[in-house]
């Protein structure tokens, strides 16, 4: 069989090059490894080696030809005794060969196949979405479980709710372990792991050295091997040391392994500003993580949500970013006393229903939102307050449903404005609910500066109830 020699690519981006020089002539014997030609691009000169044995039967592209496309046949190698005429019309054949091998359908066909039967309908606005190659499948998320009538409610702090969630899950499953700085003997830098060492022992509640990048990688490895680590960051500020392992290893490995290698891990700890701990210890990372496919990002507000969602996070087979808040740790909320209270990841909660404006927030942002709603009620403005609870996947449908009713929206978060969670909500509302909006959506955020230490400046840097009220008045055209 005659063998075609194809124009090689020198680099992943090369599309064509110059066939500079033939080093063998027609009729010459070649064996694999022989340099038969030189090709040039604007970047380099490279030698073309024969990979087959035989005789250089025919040169198809002459010396000095410019712009020879990659994969163009440039010569034909014949086996001993073969005739050059055996190599008639080689080019089309090569193409046919290639098509034969390619069993996968073209991208558009694939997209059709994978599109879920219940793909969401387009919003009422103009069709501005880029023509999609594929529509991501939409997970079906169950609503919150019914809390049976007459269930006893107990007042718990967020701190206790988190501890209980971990303890309950650790009792259920021996593969779950907790590690982090000061989690064991010190009972947690913020006392969230109080009592866990006593109950589960040093094998499952592990003090690490101060080596975030290292122990995060250790956690990821353990998760890939089938364990279910809960990795506590003393605060999320220190997880920046471990960013590479969180994003490049935990979030992407399932995808890169074609679905083989899941990473069931929970990263948790306090996020955002505490009080007077200044720039390096006061950052809200919600928007950062919410950008990363492969991660789920949870940032609850109430103790019940913290408990139900942490239990769900520990059971979830994906890497979870679980964002707590130091200021919320000591706050009390009612939590249903149930044996197994688990909440759905990816479902927002309507914390207060109203008809005049939708305020969307999460985590400690909810305290500004709820206080503002209360004050606004006194001024005759009836606000609906939505607690996103999960930031990724984001339950934008619940927000849209609300906006259809109120036609106005304000977002509240402590993080920075640019590319924040609020920005994402605004963009989604533009795409999916534009016709329902009677005013531009406004964002109330932390100020666009590192957190200052001075008490007066810190107050100014954070969002405030007054700012939420002001934004609501602006979108409702009052005041």
């Amino acid at each position: 069989m005659p063998i075609e020699v194809l124009m090689p690519a020198l680099s992943p981006t090369m599309e064509s090059g110059k066939l500079a020089k033939w080093l063998k002539a027609e009729g010459d014997k070649v064996k694999s490894g022989d340099v038969i030609a030189e090709i040039e691009t604007d970047k380099a000169t490279m030698e073309v080696e024969a990979v087959d044995e035989g005789v250089l039967g025919k040169i198809l592209i002459k010396d000095g030809t410019e712009d020879v496309a990659v994969n163009t046949p440039i010569a034909i190698i014949l086996e001993e005794g073969e005739d050059a005429s055996a190599a008639a019309a080689p080019a089309p054949k090569a193409k046919a060969d290639k098509a034969d091998k390619d069993e996968e359908p073209a991208a558009e066909e694939r997209a059709e196949e994978n599109a879920p039967p219940d793909a969401p309908e387009k919003g009422p606005g103009p069709d501005v979405a880029p023509s999609a190659v594929a529509t991501p499948p939409k997970p079906v998320i169950e609503p919150d479980p019914e809390v049976p009538e007459g269930t006893e409610m107990v007042k718990l702090t967020v701190r206790e709710a988190l501890r209980d969630a971990m303890a309950e899950e650790m009792r259920r499953d021996g593969d779950i372990f907790l590690m982090g700085e000061e989690v064991a003997e010190y009972q947690g830098a913020y006392k969230v792991s109080q009592g866990l060492l006593d109950e589960f022992g040093a094998k499952r509640v592990i003090d690490t050295p101060i080596t975030e990048h290292g122990f995060t990688g250790v956690g990821v490895g353990a998760a890939l091997a089938g364990l279910k680590p809960i990795v506590e960051f003393m605060t999320w500020n220190f997880a920046m040391q471990a960013m590479d392992q969180i994003i490049n290893s935990a979030a992407k490995t399932l995808y890169m392994s074609g679905g083989q290698m899941g990473c069931p891990i929970v990263f948790r700890g306090p996020n955002g500003a505490a009080a007077r701990v200044a720039a390096q210890h006061s950052q809200d990372f919600t928007a950062w993580y919410s950008q990363v496919p492969g991660l789920k990002v949870i940032a609850p507000y109430t103790a019940a949500d913290f408990k139900g969602l942490l239990k769900a996070a520990i059971r979830d087979p994906n890497p979870i970013i679980f964002l707590e808040n130091e200021i919320l740790y000591g706050q009390h909320f009612e939590v249903p006393k149930l044996d197994d209270f688990v909440l759905p990841i990816g479902k927002a909660r309507i914390a207060r229903s109203g008809s005049d404006v939708t305020i969307v927030s999460f985590s400690i942002g909810m305290s500004y939102a709820l206080k503002a709603a209360e004050e606004l009620a006194g001024q005759g403005i009836d606000a609906e307050v939505i607690d996103l609870r999960t930031i990724r996947p984001m339950d934008i449908e619940t927000v849209i449903e609300s906006v259809k009713k109120t036609n106005r929206c304000v977002t509240v978060e402590e993080g920075w404005p640019q590319s924040g969670v609020g920005s994402e909500i605004v963009a989604q509302l533009m795409e999916k609910a534009f016709d329902h909006l009677d005013a531009p959506v406004l964002r109330v955020t932390g100020k666009d500066v590192p957190m200052p230490y001075a008490a007066n400046l810190e107050k100014l840097a954070l969002p405030s109830v007054a700012e939420v009220i002001e934004a609501v008045k602006a979108v409702t055209y009052r005041g």
Binding site: F238, Y453, L457
Partner: protein
């Protein structure tokens, strides 16, 4: 005497446990060390008091017990040498010659503070005094200090970057990445591991697989020595060897064996160690008491002279506290300044 000791120790010890001779102090040196260490102690006591009064917020990490380390190091340092450390930084700033008023006012978040109230206890800087911070993230200053040394070599200015970090920080990965570059490029840097036996609530023996931090540079062929960090003379002698080596050869590691008397920060009840342990350190190894005793024994000072020094220091510290209490908060417009140049 000091010169002789230096010459004898020209050979750099790389073996663990090698004991290095300690040059005695002259009268003036003893008095200076006493004053500088007491200055830090009194300042820190006052800071603790202001914290208790709610004038200082957030985290506040006191240096009480560790004074001999930074004072002894500074005695061997030359003008222009730089200093970088962690959040436990008040002592280093005072040793670098920064104004106690400016430091205290930063602790209270006032406009007269070194960072105009925007940095706080953990994040303070002075270009004038070659103090490069004040870093809140454990281990970060180690690479930064290595970068300061890189600049020294680049500029051929003969200066050394003194890089302080804790026993806990010694386990961060970037410490070893820095060691490798420092040796590879022969950078003029001294790594001072302040082993105060705890990283927060964790004893160094529970966090470190090997606990001789002076030997942590072995795979990079960086010499190091363990030093009694409670004895300011031992610190100064070791520092002289380290500076000599850093200026001519490259990186050097000093493990300062020291102790912090207070909790990790103001909110740490320090239940992970016994009261007796702390008391024993105070009674038997206190860096300031050691100097006081020598001064009195040598009849270089009377009790009254030392009390006078203490009184003068208290006056300075009280003035700093006074300033830091009455200085105004930064102007609200400061919120938006300094984000970009």
């Amino acid at each position: 005497m000091a010169a002789a000791a230096k010459a004898k120790n020209a050979k750099v010890p790389t073996e663990p446990g090698v004991s290095n001779s300690i040059a005695a102090f002259s009268k003036d040196e003893e008095v200076a060390a006493f004053r500088d260490m007491l200055n830090i102690r009194r300042f820190e006591e006052k800071a603790g008091q202001l914290y208790g009064m709610g004038l200082i917020g957030g985290f506040c990490h006191l240096y009480i017990g560790q004074e001999a380390v930074v004072v002894g190091m500074t005695m061997a340092q030359k003008d222009g040498d730089q200093l970088v450390t962690s959040y436990r930084d008040h002592g280093h700033m005072l040793a670098a010659g920064m104004d106690p008023k400016g430091v205290m006012a930063e602790l209270t978040g006032r406009s007269g503070g070194y960072s105009r109230g925007k940095g706080g206890s953990m994040h303070m800087f002075s270009r004038e005094k070659n103090f490069f911070g004040g870093h809140g993230i454990v281990g970060a200053q180690v690479s930064i200090g290595t970068g300061l040394a890189f600049a020294n070599k680049y500029k051929e200015n003969g200066q050394v970057a003194v890089t302080y970090f804790g026993d806990g920080a010694a386990n961060q990965g970037q410490v070893y990445e820095s060691f490798n570059m420092a040796k590879l490029w022969k950078l003029p840097v001294i790594y001072v591991v302040e082993n105060n036996r705890y990283g927060m609530g964790t004893s160094y023996t529970r966090a470190s697989s090997t606990t001789d931090f002076s030997q942590r540079g072995r795979s990079f062929d960086i010499p190091g020595e363990q030093v009694d960090g409670m004895d300011v003379r031992a610190v100064r002698s070791a520092a002289e060897r380290a500076f000599e080596h850093a200026r001519t050869e490259g990186p050097y590691i000093l493990e300062m064996q020291t102790y912090r008397y207070r909790g990790h920060s103001m909110s740490d009840p320090a239940k992970y160690r016994s009261k007796e342990e702390v008391q024993k350190m105070r009674d038997e190894h206190d860096p300031i008491e050691q100097v006081r005793k020598r001064l009195l024994e040598n009849k270089w000072a009377e009790e009254d002279d030392l009390n006078k020094i203490d009184k003068d220091i208290r006056a300075v510290v009280n003035a700093a506290a006074e300033f830091a209490t009455n200085d105004p908060e930064p102007d609200p417009s400061e919120l938006w300044t300094d984000v970009y140049v």
